[in-house]
């Protein structure tokens, strides 16, 4: 079976020419199959977030290859990388990164602006994404008026609005109590059921021990140190 995402000896060095050059990812080979839920586990600074960036086409590797849906993206110009990212991935950031002055609806709509969609189609997709996270009633509210959990649901709706194949989440439970974490994981499980592939970076045991997780990849200092089933 062809994996959805594959990395081959992928490395990422930030500020390569400067004194503070840091190798965040040092030669990782891994793959994610379609419909799978994979957890990247490791202490902070182990390169989880950087690997997520590479896998999710946020950035290009310094060396090595990243292959998404059978196409090598590691050498694509930024413009096309953005296109692949927008069409294939949805991101839920650790800090949510919503624009505080905008309403829930407008925040969710952000990824749709660069696409050539009609206003109707945009409205339809936003409504669908909001329904998915049960926020339809709050669509006109400003995101600053919402609670932390609700804000995260807005972030998830924004990640889903482009109808992606892969949902990437970075420390999704970092700002949630255990009750809300459970709710979130249930939501992820439902999304997985619906066919979405999940890649989650976390060091929260509640996440990587959850039954929805198929595989755990453990990272340490930018290297892969253990890989196995949940």
């Amino acid at each position: 079976m062809n994996p959805l995402i594959r990395t081959e000896e992928v490395c990422k060095t930030y500020h390569p020419r400067k004194a503070d050059a840091t190798q965040a990812v040092a030669g990782i080979t891994m793959q994610v199959a379609s419909g799978e839920a994979v957890v990247l586990k490791g202490p902070s600074g182990s390169g989880k977030t950087s690997l997520l960036s590479l896998v999710g086409c946020m950035t290009r590797p310094t060396s090595g290859r990243v292959i998404v849906t059978g196409e090598e993206v590691s050498r694509l110009p930024e413009r096309f990388l953005t296109l692949v990212r927008r069409r294939t991935f949805g991101f839920v950031f650790q800090q949510y990164h919503l624009i505080p002055e905008l309403s829930v609806r407008d925040n969710v709509m952000l990824p749709l602006y660069p696409e050539r969609l009609s206003a109707n189609e945009m409205g339809r997709r936003v409504a669908a994404a909001l329904a998915e996270v049960e926020l339809t009633g709050l669509a006109r509210r400003r995101v600053t008026e919402l609670s932390g959990g609700e804000q995260q649901r807005v972030a998830i709706a924004r990640a889903l609005v482009n109808e992606p194949r892969v949902l990437i989440a970075d420390e999704p439970t970092a700002h949630l109590d255990s009750r809300l974490s459970t709710v979130l994981l249930e939501r992820f499980a439902a999304l997985k059921q619906a066919g979405l592939t999940l890649v989650i970076a976390t060091h929260d045991p509640q996440v990587y021990t959850h039954p929805l997780v198929d595989r755990i990849i453990e990272l340490h200092d930018g290297r892969l140190c253990k890989e196995g089933g949940a």
Binding site: S50, T82, F91, H97, E101, M122
Partner: protein, 385 residues
């Protein structure tokens, strides 16, 4: 669709930052107001000059001696009437008068040579010695009205008293502002000008298209004369006003520079919030080109708004308030003119020039800052915790 959507987003994002938007908008508008006032006023003055000359003679013949203007013998009239194509020749008597009291210059004109266009008179034209009609500017500076007395000092340093029988309220302000009109005889006495001489000769021709040819013939038959056609006068006026307007613009170019620096600064100094916002946009799938488009729309919206409001304010300033300071500089020496109310007009060429002068520097100075913002790393938001 994508363009419109991003335009919509750009407008919303401008409104979300009212402080910054207003700051740049105010300065931008101010700059446009200043430049637009100069342009509008220059154009208004040119139009005024054109109207003013339209009533004058088609061709004026002066005499020159040693390269300077001299009084012309009235006997030259006979010579000129013989030239084919010349309809009529009239000697004109007029001159300048420096009024030490108010420190202004008046134009004294013989009544017989006045064009008929000057009918917008409050009162009546002078009929006999000791009477005169004056322009609104003269009336204002001397604080006199109808039936008051105007005292002028003649060539022999003797004060003469004239009764004001009429005040000109013409629309073509420039023409009559500084005018004092009296019958030709008394004026000759006032100036001490002999009857055999005149200031110049006004020539009327049958075919206006032939004016240059006739000027040529006059020059040949009276070698010491200088024929001046109306179109030439017009050209000179235009050149003078354009030159003054251009000087003003050149002076204001330093203001333009300051504005560019401000625009650069405002656009470069992205606030933390803006930086974050662009980071988020890049992270959720906006391309560099999309952010550039966003910045383009923002800049164009600001420019358009500033341009329209600036032009509107300048329009009101020039055509309703008469631009007290600027007007004086542009019009020149005389203190008599400031109360000018030009006829409103809209000229697309002027607006185009203005847009060129203001929008281009703004756009140019925001290109690089906009690009800097647009190339924000998309994974910056992922790394920021």
């Amino acid at each position: 669709m994508r363009y419109l959507k991003i335009l919509e987003y750009a407008l919303a994002s401008l409104l979300r930052r009212p402080g910054k938007t207003c700051a740049i908008l105010v300065v931008y508008t101010l700059m446009i107001v200043v430049l637009a006032s100069v342009l509008f006023l220059t154009q208004a003055l040119k139009t005024e000059a054109t109207t003013m000359l339209a009533g004058g003679p088609q061709l004026v013949v002066q005499k020159t001696m040693a390269g300077r203007h001299e009084l012309i013998p009235v006997s030259a009239v006979e010579k000129l009437v013989e030239i084919p194509g010349v309809k009529a020749v009239k000697p004109r008597v007029w001159g300048y008068y420096y009024d030490a009291l108010t420190g202004t210059n008046y134009t004294l004109q013989g009544f017989d040579t006045l064009a008929n266009e000057l009918s917008l008179l409050n009162g009546r034209l002078p009929r006999e010695e000791g009477e005169c009609a004056i322009g609104a500017g003269v009336a204002r500076s001397r604080l006199i009205h109808l039936q008051d007395e105007l005292i002028l000092i003649d060539y022999d340093n003797i004060g003469r008293i004239f009764t004001v029988t009429g005040v000109f309220v013409s629309a073509a302000d420039l023409l009559t502002q500084d005018l004092v009109v009296m019958p030709e005889g008394p004026l000759r006495q006032f100036f001490g000008m002999p009857d055999s001489l005149a200031t110049d000769l006004a020539v009327e021709v049958y075919n206006p298209n032939e004016v240059d040819t006739i000027a040529n013939k006059i020059k040949r038959s009276l070698p010491d004369s200088r024929p001046i056609t109306q179109s030439e006068l017009l050209r000179t006026y235009h050149a003078v006003f354009d030159w003054r307007g251009g000087m003003m613009l050149a002076l204001f170019s330093s203001a333009l520079m300051a504005f560019c620096i401000l625009a650069w600064d405002k656009a470069t100094g992205l606030s933390a919030g803006e930086r974050r916002e662009i980071g988020i946009l890049k992270a959720v799938g906006w391309d560099t080109g999309d952010v550039l488009l966003l910045k383009l729309w923002e800049g164009l919206a600001l420019s358009l708004l500033a341009f329209l409001s600036g032009c509107l304010i300048a329009f009101i300033l020039v055509f309703w308030w008469g631009t007290p300071v600027l007007g004086g500089i542009l019009r020149g020496w005389s203190v008599l003119f400031p109360a000018l109310r030009p006829t409103p007009f809209i000229d697309f060429y002027q607006l185009g020039t203005l847009a060129f002068l203001t929008i281009i520097p703004y756009v140019a100075s925001t290109v690089i800052p906009a690009w800097r913002a647009a190339v924000t790393d998309p994974d910056e938001v992922m790394r920021a915790s």
